[in-house]
Symmetry: C2
Subunit: 469 residues, 2 copies
């Protein structure tokens, strides 16, 4: 088979770009850093959205929609926030053919504008918690764009909540972090993530605590898959989100925000992709089984393939029939591997004459002849097994490429090819600055029992150091 | 009961604003013309989206996502298009702290940027038809904004397709118009629409034919609920969307576009709302039945209400339990009327002692005592009946407020309070210009059998004239 993609071991970034282009996942947009999400990738994103949306609603949040345009002055009300986002803003200066009196920014995130409305809607402690989420596009001007990972415009969900107490806000932030995000990534995306706290240096601009989910990509680098922030009373004070408590005293609310984005599509590709293309976890895959007519003779092969496809649909499998017999079988097989359908069932005239089909599993490239009557059971069994196998494989790779070290120098050395686990006390803010000079970052901090610390000053924390996207 | 809303007959626009505010549907955003869609309205929009998305996919289109930012030069490639949209553009001149070499516009619609990518993806007639749709926000700077109806930013779906022949493009445009849009509006929104062709004057900027769906609002004005456009080869030529046909000759494709937006939320309010608030058709309503605990004594009322709510859920009804007994019943009833839940089931201690509950139907304000055991059946029957009744009521109002006339002057007079049906030959381009001077527009043209004409020059066409939103 001719080489379709640059092998990962040869040039991982090139492999990534090749795959995105050849699997028809995305294109670069005409304005620098923007992207076109093509139907193949968008269908995956829709399934991510549906699953995440269900989990967010189960956590009690309601969807709403806030404006794309934010007055420039809003961002300036929270000092760290404006400092963090100013370099990335797109600014609208003209509207309706006239210069605007006040320039407006295209939202890089919506804490400010949502804070303004929370202040209007919250009056009493009875109005709390106020749990909101929106699905939206945001813009952060990117100097070094890369499709899905860093784009000037991306799609995401951003949750914004207000609570009566710090403890409530913290509990909700962690609920999203642990229950919504981690489970979505594990159960749907089959991506193992390390949960931890960001250092003060890596914290979201305006937050008091940022909790992160970090995944290891196929090249040993880390990708931040999502974050959940405690914002303390920073935005509540800036936007006057205040309420009368049980005693009628006026108090500021405690707010949170949390987001996951189309960046997860990049994580999916780089976590599960192999040298033949994408591998989509069965639970996520818009098409789980491709039923392929190998060759047609008298119409009976297509008829048998269609009947099998119908049986699979009846068994709850998401199926596509590939009956494009005028396109060479080999080319269709390569395309199917690129697009990462979890299984293919090849239906050919010779096998069929013997009552057989072939089950091809994307995860390992295995091909197994099956009696036609066993095909549905074999497909559903393979889909279930491969969802777990993809997770296990990613976890095993992460373990194999994570080194336990006890000095900063060893951690920096280990970060050249994978992750380093190192006592945070051996790194500290000075070690962190030194690591950053080598393009290595502290991905997160966690306690010995794996839980997330309340501050980076807690004793006995472990840090993960790595290069990252 | 105290007056909650300005009555429609007194001041319809004021009633609309009151309702939107008091039913907590939306707020004005801080940047002029933008809006905040609050959870109550957003939940309705999500159900509209889900239904429309299913219908669009059933019509063969795939979802994708194209960038928010479009190079200014793209718009200029199609002369009518740029002329139509220039006055409404928001322009980004600065990004990442620097002035941009070429200003970019925030998409007012995406024919241009999608045209650019269609040109890349289409090579042979085998690549056609290419059927795309996207859910996105768009920006058109509004001088006279009104929430949902005319906002500087709104949410919509925009479909964009390319075809090998003019006949194919026309058929698909009409399929969307007739099968997707009309049925969505009739079956889900319970809004009767008149299908027709826009005059050349009202046509979409860059289209060769625009087909529209027009609904009558509670004040007799018309609202354009959606449009489907044949774009001829205008954009294909501007963006070089060309393909090799069966004979290998290079030909330009024929493209279409079609859209419906959050404007439909405004249509829903103004079509079905009454002096007590919104009325949501049961098929659309996120919450179909509100089970209200009138008063609690010893916990048994709430328990009975919860049991009934569970039975309703088991019967497939979307239910919310209102057990906020510390809020006065009257206030909760007013709020429920405002928000338009199709039915309420009131569970009170006195009725319950006699084995009864009360069914309150939003459509007509009727209250019917029921045996508890009959409640589920009565609710499901009411939901089915009221879906139809709302449609019938809207249709009857439209018929009652549409006058058949045979001269332009009579048509203009009739348009003061409703719609005028008049032979297009009695209006013509001169009559249309005269009507426009009085803020009356030709909403659409159709043939005697109700079908849409191929041009405004066909003989024996009927025109609808009306004031509009």
């Amino acid at each position: 088979m001719a080489r379709v993609l640059t092998p990962r071991a040869e040039d991982f970034p090139r492999w990534y770009q090749d795959l995105i282009s050849k699997a028809e996942l995305a294109d670069n947009g005409p304005v620098r850093g923007t992207m076109v999400i093509r139907p193949t990738a968008y269908a995956i994103w829709e399934r991510m959205q549906a699953d995440m949306d269900t989990r967010i609603k189960a956590a009690g949040a309601q969807n709403a929609y806030f404006p794309l345009f934010i007055p420039e002055s809003y961002l300036k009300r929270e000092a760290e926030h404006v400092e963090g986002f100013s370099p990335e803003l797109a600014v609208v200066t003209h509207g309706g053919g006239k210069q605007l009196a006040e320039p407006v920014v295209v939202r890089p995130t919506s804490e400010t504008v949502i804070g303004e409305f929370m202040a209007k809607w919250v009056d009493s402690y009875r109005d709390l918690p106020l749990l909101l989420n929106q699905w939206a596009n945001v813009v952060r001007w990117e100097m070094r764009p890369r499709v899905f990972l860093r784009t000037s415009e991306f799609l995401w969900q951003e949750g914004h909540t207000a609570h009566a107490t710090e403890a409530d806000a913290k509990a909700y932030t962690l609920k999203i972090h642990h229950e919504v995000y981690e489970r979505h990534m594990r159960e749907l995306l089959a991506i193992p993530v390390v949960l931890g706290r960001k250092t003060n240096r890596e914290r979201f601009a305006g937050a008091t605590s940022t909790y992160t989910l970090e995944a290891m990509m196929g090249d040993g680098k880390a990708l931040q898959m999502g974050t959940s922030h405690e914002l303390g009373q920073n935005f509540a004070k800036a936007f006057d989100i205040a309420f009368s408590g049980v005693t009628n005293a006026r108090e500021y609310a405690w707010t949170t925000s949390w987001g996951t984005s189309t960046r997860m599509l990049g994580g999916l590709i780089m976590c599960h992709g192999d040298d033949n293309g994408l591998r989509i976890p069965p639970a996520l895959a818009p098409i789980q089984a491709l039923v392929t007519v190998v060759k047609e003779t008298d119409g009976s092969v297509t008829a048998a393939a269609q009947a099998l496809a119908d049986d699979l649909v009846a068994a709850g499998v998401r199926v596509k029939l590939d009956d494009r017999v005028d396109t060479p079988f080999g080319r269709r097989a390569v395309d199917a591997e690129l697009k990462g359908y979890p299984v293919r069932v090849e239906v050919g005239p010779r096998d069929l004459a013997e009552g057989r089909v072939v089950l091809a599993r994307r995860i390992d490239g295995s091909k197994t002849p099956l009696a036609l009557g066993e095909a549905v059971g074999a497909v559903t069994a393979a889909l279930e097994a491969d969802q777990k196998a993809l997770y296990d494989e990613a976890l095993a790779r992460r373990e194999a490429n994570t080194v336990e070290v006890s000095t900063l120098d060893d951690a920096l050395a280990a970060s050249a090819t994978g992750w380093a686990r190192v006592p945070w006390s051996k790194v500290g803010v000075e070690g962190e600055a030194k690591a950053n000079e080598q393009s290595i970052t502290v991905r997160c901090l966690f306690r010995a029992d794996g839980s997330v610390p309340a501050s980076q000053d807690e004793p006995d924390l472990t840090a993960i150091l790595a290069r990252s996207y």
